[in-house]
Amino acid sequence: MKRASKLMGTVALGLLTAVSAQAEDVEVLHWWTSGGEAAALNVLKEDLQGQDIGWNDMPVAGGGGEAAMTTLRARVTAGNPPTAVQMLGFDIQDWAAEGALGNLNDVAAAEGWDAVVPAALQAFAKYDGNWISAPVNVHSTNWVWANKAVLDELGLGVPSTWEEFVAAMQAAKDAGKVGLAHGGQAWQEATMFDGVVLSAGGPDFYKKAFIDLDPEALGSDTMVEAFKRMETLRSYVDDNFSGRDWNLASAMVINGEAAFQIMGDWAKGEFLNAGKVPDQDFLCFRVPGSEGVVTFNSDQFAMFNVSEEGAKAAQAAMAASIMAPSFQSAFNVVKGSVPARTDVPQDDFDACGKKGMDQLAEAAANGTLLGSMAHGHANRAGVKNAIYDVVTAHFNGEFSAEEAAEELVNAVETAM
């Protein structure tokens, strides 16, 4: 592979030389290194090995893919890009705009991707009408995770409105529990904000504010209301929240120390790992007030430009394997997310997984499948982080709700 990558380097420098015999390998840059994720990826590796395509692993974890994206830039600058790269949202579009990505139209046409991948995902996986990446999964962020024993003990059902949710947290607090388990890191606060903005303003408002970045929506009374709801949530969080890892916040719900956590569907892994069963030990439901809408982020594998036919064939084979329903099912069962195509059989998924798949299909059909602001699927990294800055500053008490909305308008404008 070293020879192959060196070769690509030379090609990039404009010195075209002979074809390497080992070109039928794929070098994959990704950040799925924790037990379950990597095991799931291994399914793909074995699938490719069955087709005589070697897998050269290049894992770089950290910061939800940030470290891997830094690595990618260094590799591309050195003229030594990997063949396939795990990517999120707008990064795919940015790399496509640089002209660095290959074309997957042939596979996509042969496998009929257009019909089975939701349009909201296609917006990221296609550039200029051409398929450039293969989506692996869909995570969604507006979930609440609850300890069922705690709710039963307090005589509470699943809250269906924001007011009921607040009342439930209050009941938990009165009983000496923590109402809401939360880790004070900017991205975790932003993840909650996804759901809270939906509950306060609905899907159209969310779209206007986070996707269209309409200054009027960003500074509106509805946004002030959303920030006020964040303050309400803040009052049910324990004192030691700041800096806590999300895993430890999940552990608080698992242990019955806290009643709820607002977190993406990857949290399910922690519950399953602790031997808990969905619907028996823990509950998953959408942030009250945001039902019917799914805010998503989707991991995809983008294919970089290669010139040799052998390498192109390997990329196509990899893309086809990723989109195969069997892989989509096997991978997502382990990962906690749901498949990126809507026609995958539900048999192997647990109760929360099935719920997620149904809701995804429904949201895709109704046009309420929206990119997650917190996870870079509503806007580019600069804007996303500018929103993070305001949300986390407000949550930590630097701004009032009104000031925060005002600040949000400024921050987004500066970052645009």
Binding site: M1, K2, S5, K6, G9, A12, L13, E27, H30, W31, W32, T33, S34, G35, G36, E37, A38, A39, L41, N42, K45, W55, N56, D57, M58, P59, V60, A61, G62, G63, G64, G65, A67, T70, T71, R73, A74, R75, T77, A78, G79, N80, H139, D245, N247, L248, A251, I254, N255, E257, G264, W266, G269, E270, N273, A274, G336
Partner: protein, 293 residues
């Protein structure tokens, strides 16, 4: 171990000595505290940690996290543990430290004993080079390595580390040699000794303590570097820190804190070994011997 050769002129009374030992022990305690947290948690099952007992000793002692970190934990798609990456790191760190120590010693020697017009400016330039933020190095360095055909290889990484070690190596040795009597060098010169002879016979024998400092510094920095390793390494030159980072920094996976701590301690063992082995050369008396001889 090394006390036999030590000879300090300072004498202290009993009360003062008790006080000194007390202070030294208190600081030892301060330094060891986080290590206790790491060690204790690396010997617990995960459920005990997430159960909220982070500061306590394990109730169920287990070495499973250590075994996992060493050989079965998931680093990439394959559950290899940290084991295979040790060799990559050693192949990178040993030549890099050796080369940069030699360069540092030579530079320090030249800048103090073979002074020429403009040498202070050169030293200043090298010193200030220590401050370059590595973030801005990344992109142009990647381009240079690509042009030199060293991208994604261990020699490329060695080159990067040697280049950014020049400043510190020169600084340590120059400041150490500055205190060394120049008359001795002049005398040897008059006796007909050449540039390298003087370096070899006179300077090197007294360089023990500072070589230790430089080796500790370079070894630690290169061994623990993540940014360069992640950016300029390929799959078969990937250093240990990138592997450790992959073990620890999964974003949406289950965090196995006990395995993380075990892995961190394992990853630090070679550096610790260097501290202990190199520390033996922290001996007093070398200098005096050379002056008399």
């Amino acid at each position: 171990m090394s006390h036999a050769t030590q000879d300090t002129a300072v004498r202290t009374g009993r009360i003062a000595r008790t006080f000194i030992y007390l202070v030294l022990l208190l600081f030892a305690l301060f330094y060891l505290l986080p290590f206790f947290v790491m060690l204790a948690n690396s010997l617990k099952p995960l459920s005990e940690i997430t159960g909220g007992n982070m500061m306590a000793l394990p109730q169920d002692w287990t070495i499973a996290p250590w075994l996992s970190a060493w050989s079965t934990a998931q680093i990439g798609v394959e559950p290899t543990g940290l084991r295979p990456y040790f060799l990559n790191s050693i192949l990178m760190v040993v030549p890099a430290v050796a080369i940069s120590t030699v360069i540092g010693a030579l530079n320090g020697y030249i800048l103090t004993k073979w002074r020429f017009r403009g040498d202070t400016v050169i030293f200043g330039l090298m010193l200030f080079s220590c401050f370059i933020p590595f973030q801005i190095v990344l992109i142009p360095m990647a381009r240079m390595l690509g042009l030199m055909g060293l991208a994604g290889s261990t020699p490329g990484l060695v080159l990067v580390h040697v280049v950014y070690g020049i400043g510190f190596g020169t600084l340590y040795f120059r400041n150490y040699y500055a205190a060394f009597p120049t008359e001795l060098v002049r005398a040897a010169q008059i006796d007909g000794a050449g540039f390298f002879q003087i370096f070899w016979r006179i300077m090197l024998p007294v360089s023990g303590p500072i070589a230790v400092v430089n080796i500790i510094w370079q070894f630690t920095n290169i061994w623990n570097d993540f940014l360069f390793g992640a950016s300029f390494a390929d799959l078969d030159s990937m250093p240990m820190t990138v592997a450790l980072n992959n073990l620890v920094n999964s974003s949406t996976g289950v965090k196995e804190y006990n395995v993380h701590f075990a892995g961190a301690i394992l990853a630090a063992l070679p550096t610790l070994l260097v501290y202990i082995v190199a520390g033996r050369y922290f001996v007093r008396g070398l200098m005096a011997g050379s002056v008399k001889g």
